[in-house]
């Protein structure tokens, strides 16, 4: 177990370092001159531009810039935003809680609804209800998030005035509509997954044996169905957290939330290199960490996974 965690951890660190190189190269291939972006709208002379380049180390070769950036990263310094003239880590301290609140709330909604709805449709399995589940889940996965967002915003926020439609001024209530929107495709996947797993486990030979031994239905559910069925569900939740960060960009824009996604989109349009790199790497780090935790959790639930890897 320890060996597995160490090996997986080392792999995650190696992946993270390789992705820093990739993101760094892509960012510096972006069109436009960062020195000009720093200078802003002012008319500047060539000597001012070269002074700016020297000040931010932009005149050095790309690999030297990369090494220095990496060195600062290990000291927790993500550099300074060219546009906002503030440390990137300060901007992240503002944006990260917004996106994390959104993602955590979304995952909670997905897990709760996925389990409740999935388990109850599993009990009513039959041709007609199966087709209905398939149709509803397909619709949930097919409608683009920004359309769902606009519709819920208009219906619950503007027409019914139940919930706030934009910004974060209303505390947790500000996140209800965005999280419900973001959760829709995940709920569709979770319902199908839970339904399929419950049916498989309830019909499995070992469940039949347990029933034959006279074990109560509650104990069968707890010890056999939930335990065995939880492995694919845990890996779904892990993958989902990573995927949600991408979807958050869209939802943050619809609901005007000042989160990581909005910060990245804005930084890319302003060619704010330090911010793009800092935020993208933060997302990748979160993704890799969640991936690692998921692997450890699924292995703890099902020790056979370690032996097969």
């Amino acid at each position: 177990m320890t060996l597995f965690v160490v090996r997986r951890g080392a792999g995650a660190v190696a992946t993270f370092l390789s992705s820093t190189v990739l993101v760094f190269i892509i960012t510096f291939a972006l069109p436009g001159d960062p020195a000009r972006a720093i200078a802003g709208h002012r008319q500047v002379t060539a000597s001012t531009l070269s002074a700016i380049r020297a000040r931010y180390g932009l005149d050095q070769p790309l690999w030297e810039q990369y090494i220095r950036w990496l060195g600062r990263l290990f000291r927790g310094d993500l550099g300074e935003s060219f546009v906002a003239r503030r440390p990137v880590s300060d901007m992240m301290q503002e944006a990260l809680p917004v996106t994390l609140t959104l993602v955590v709330l979304t995952v909670v909604i997905e897990v709760v609804l996925g389990l409740v709805v999935g388990a109850s449709v599993a009990r009513r399995s039959g041709q007609r209800s199966d087709n209905a589940v398939l149709a509803v889940c397909t619709i949930g996965l097919s409608v683009p998030l920004f359309v769902v967002g606009s519709l819920t915003q208009d219906l619950f926020g503007i027409d019914l005035r139940w919930l706030p439609v934009a910004g974060t001024r209303n505390g947790i209530f500000s996140y209800v509509l965005p999280a419900l929107t973001l959760a829709l495709p995940g709920i569709a996947i979770a319902v199908r997954l839970v339904r399929a797993e419950s049916i498989t486990q309830l019909r499995a030979p070992h469940t039949r044996t347990a029933r034959g031994k006279g074990i109560t239905e509650a104990a069968i559910l707890r010890r056999h169905v939930v335990r065995n069925g939880s492995v694919p569900f845990v890996s779904f939740v892990g993958l989902e957290i990573g995927a949600l960060v991408g979807g958050a960009i869209v939802v943050e824009r619809v609901f005007n939330l000042p989160g990581v996604g909005r910060a990245i989109a804005q930084a890319i349009s302003q060619r704010d290199n330090a911010t793009i790199i800092g935020f993208t790497m933060a997302i990748i780090a979160v993704y890799l960490l969640v991936d690692l935790l998921t692997d450890v959790a699924t292995m703890a639930l099902d020790p056979r996974i370690e032996r097969s890897s």
Binding site: T15, I26, A135, L141, S142, A190, P232, I249
Partner: protein, 296 residues
């Protein structure tokens, strides 16, 4: 876990899902190949370029609600919305199908090679795939598309960008399939009669690894059509005068509260296309060829 279905392991669908998929895809397919046939049913057989801000009597013709002359109303330039929605299918299908096929080709070549050779080839492919998949799709697409000057942004560049970011998904699936096919006795038999590695891979490994890849690729088309619309919404629409659902939905955002049909109608068609491909992928994963996918 195989990841062959974007739905997660559904085990639903069956004939109902396949039938729905074929209906939806035939309709979207006709719109993409011969939109003239579909718009011929509408009054005056409009085309996306039939735009008039003012009619002959001087009344404004922009953002009309759906009516007898314009089934889906008109957009803010007074263009017939029905014909634009029908003609918009082509761009989405070109990007979605084009990118999915390219991803399948690249991913499968790399995945089969990695699974067959093993060793350092396999290690490099897996590590590179992990790095690429660590970047969220939307972030990666914005980064790549922002590298290109807006004038260069086209269906082709979108397809290439999708391929760069998503080839590892198919590579993983085909690698896993190849690993299990490698140990089959028919591979040993082929080797015993002196077949070369390349021949074995092309004649035996690829056909047998195809079902899970096909199932994933079909669902992937749906995912990509949706992602393409999201990119338009984020301001990375294709340049020029291409009629696309994403562009139409993006334009409609501003007028949503007064002209909701301009957002809803293209969304319904886009969602139908996405649903068709998701259901198709699901049906393949559960068809006769897909049985083995679940068992692995």
């Amino acid at each position: 876990m195989n990841g062959a279905s974007l739905f997660g392991r559904g085990r639903l669908a069956g004939r109902f899902g396949l039938r729905m998929a074929l209906w939806l895809l035939s309709f979207v397919g006709i719109c993409a190949v011969a939109p003239q046939l579909v718009v011929a049913f509408a009054p005056g057989s409009p085309s996306p370029t039939d735009c008039a801000l003012r009619a002959e009597d001087g009344s404004y013709q922009d953002r009309l609600a759906p009516n007898a002359n314009h089934w889906f109303g008109t957009d803010r330039q007074g263009c017939d919305e029905f014909s634009r929605v029908i003609y918009g299918a082509r761009h989405s299908l070109i990007v979605g199908v084009g990118a999915a096929v390219l991803i399948a080709l690249v991913g499968m070549s790399v995945g089969v090679a990695a699974g067959w050779r093993g060793g350092w080839v396999d290690a490099i492919v897996r590590r590179t795939g992990d790095v690429v998949l660590g970047i969220p799709l939307v972030v990666g697409m914005i980064l790549i598309l922002a590298v290109l000057v807006p004038g260069q942004r086209s269906a082709t560049t979108t397809v290439v960008a999708f391929t760069v970011l998503l080839w590892p998904t198919v590579a993983r699936i085909s690698r896993a399939a190849t690993r299990s096919i490698r140990t089959e006795s028919y591979i040993e038999a082929a080797r015993a009669v002196g077949a070369t590695d390349v021949r074995i891979c092309l004649r035996h490994v690829v056909p047998n690894a195809l079902p899970p890849v096909a199932a994933y690729t079909a669902s992937l088309v749906g995912l990509l059509i949706g992602a393409e619309a999201v990119l338009s919404y984020l301001g990375f629409a294709v340049a020029g005068s291409v009629v696309s659902w994403g562009q139409m939905m993006d334009d409609a955002q501003t007028y949503y509260s007064r002209s909701p049909h301009l957002l809803i109608l293209p969304s319904v068609f886009l969602s139908a296309a996405v649903a068709g491909f998701l259901l198709l992928g699901d049906a393949i994963a559960q068809g006769p060829a897909g049985r083995e996918i679940d068992a692995s």
